[in-house]
Amino acid sequence: MATQPGSVDGNWERPTAFYNRTTKYVVYALITGFVLYSFWNIRVSPDRFLRGLGGGVTLVSNMLPPAATPMQFDLMVQGIVESILMSIIATTLGIVVSAPVAFMAANNLAPRPIYLVGRSIIAVTRSFHELIVAIVMVKAVGFGPLAGVLALAFKTVGFFAKLLSEEIEDIDTGQMDAIEAVGGSRMQVYLYSVLPQIIPRIIGLSIYRLDINLRHSTVVGIVGAGGIGITLLNSFQKYDYQYSSLIILVIVGIVMIGEAASAYARRRVQ
């Protein structure tokens, strides 16, 4: 198998997703540069970093074992219960409000201007982190679980209306035509053809969202919007790290149980 050198091209370059190699390296260099710039920009001194690591050992030893006085324990239970209740109410409220938004944002049902309004509502509610919404709600309606419920419900609207509107866009329009053909009104069309098609999905999504809201309800208290979060924040501010670690463990436990229960319930529904 003789290959004379020079008779066949000995050069080959891997085709890249970029236009050519230079562009590729420029893009890589830009990314690297930006990361380095980011690093420089937050001004981490190695000294501070090392002290933090040392502090980690102290903190962990201060956190162990997790503990609480009987009074603190009661407070924690109250907070947890409040979080769970908040998540249930917020999920329900959010779903109720999201239904009209979902129909607005379904391009096969809504006229163009309404569709755009619906989509914007979804985009805005989805873009803000639940804690941002919560901190604003606290100022609007005062400290306490109401602010948390409103914040979680607000986030639920964005999540739910988006998925639901996609679901509506996928539905079989043949059935709608059938009902309209026998003389049904628009409302009847929604009730008898659209709703039955999407109900199983709605239940599944509700359970899923309940799980998410439960997670969030444990932290919105950090900005004063009710639930266990405020108790956790206070324990940190009082350097009562044994109590903090207990609360964190309980939160982790609740979140894990919620996740498992939600997964189980969704499997049962489908």
């Binding site: 219960v81 109410i89 803000f128």
Partner: protein
Amino acid sequence: MASKSEFSGADSGAEWERFDTRQRLIRYFLTLGVLVILAAAWRSMDINYGYVASAPNEVMDLLTRMYPPNVIYTSEIVGPLLETINISILGTALAIVMALPVAFLSASNTTPNRWTYLFGKFIVSFTRSVNVIIWALIFVVLFGPGALAGVLAIAVRSVGFTAKLLGEAIEEIDRGPVEAISATGASTFQMFIYGIIPQIKPAFISVATFRWDINVRASTIIGFVGAGGIGVALQTNINYFKWDAVLTILIAILGIVLVSEGISAYLRGKVS
């Protein structure tokens, strides 16, 4: 089993029913149960109805006080916004670095033994179950207020998610090509570069960009507990009731979130 409900219509003769009696009862009680729980939940929350009644007004009032946004203030938030993006990028980068070994531990086909596997799974579920703001609280205690605590909080919170998805991608690897590469006499590391990396690269890029998108949102709020970013400015302005500046910040956040979402979706679309 499945045929039971299908044929139940035969018993009820000519009358058509959507559900049989037992199913109806179950549905009825489930609905009732949900309503009872809701009512009980609402009652036991001790909500001040004065607040509830005035809530719509308060929110409207807030909105009118916000509008128009404070345009001049824009120049002051450029720095915090950049810091927010920096935190999200560094946090994601650090998360990936930490997630890679965890991913290989938590993938059943690459983990050395059962204990390492369980250890990997533990890290995955623990880091995922603690909210980013709680991680931020912890890291502020350790490293003091500032962006460093934010970067670490975001990184640690993202490890589980990233490692989980990467681990799943690793578990789906086709062994055939990997074997074929080692059969040519390649070293373990070469086998890794040619056999394994190309197979997990698409998942890697989409997980990284997806997580970055999530982290941009997260890095807007860790400032509430002092961990840097735009959240610090947002909280300050809210506390001083400077609502026009608050709206400016909210618009800016909306902007970077939408842009990062677009970039992330574009990048994920490119790899396939």
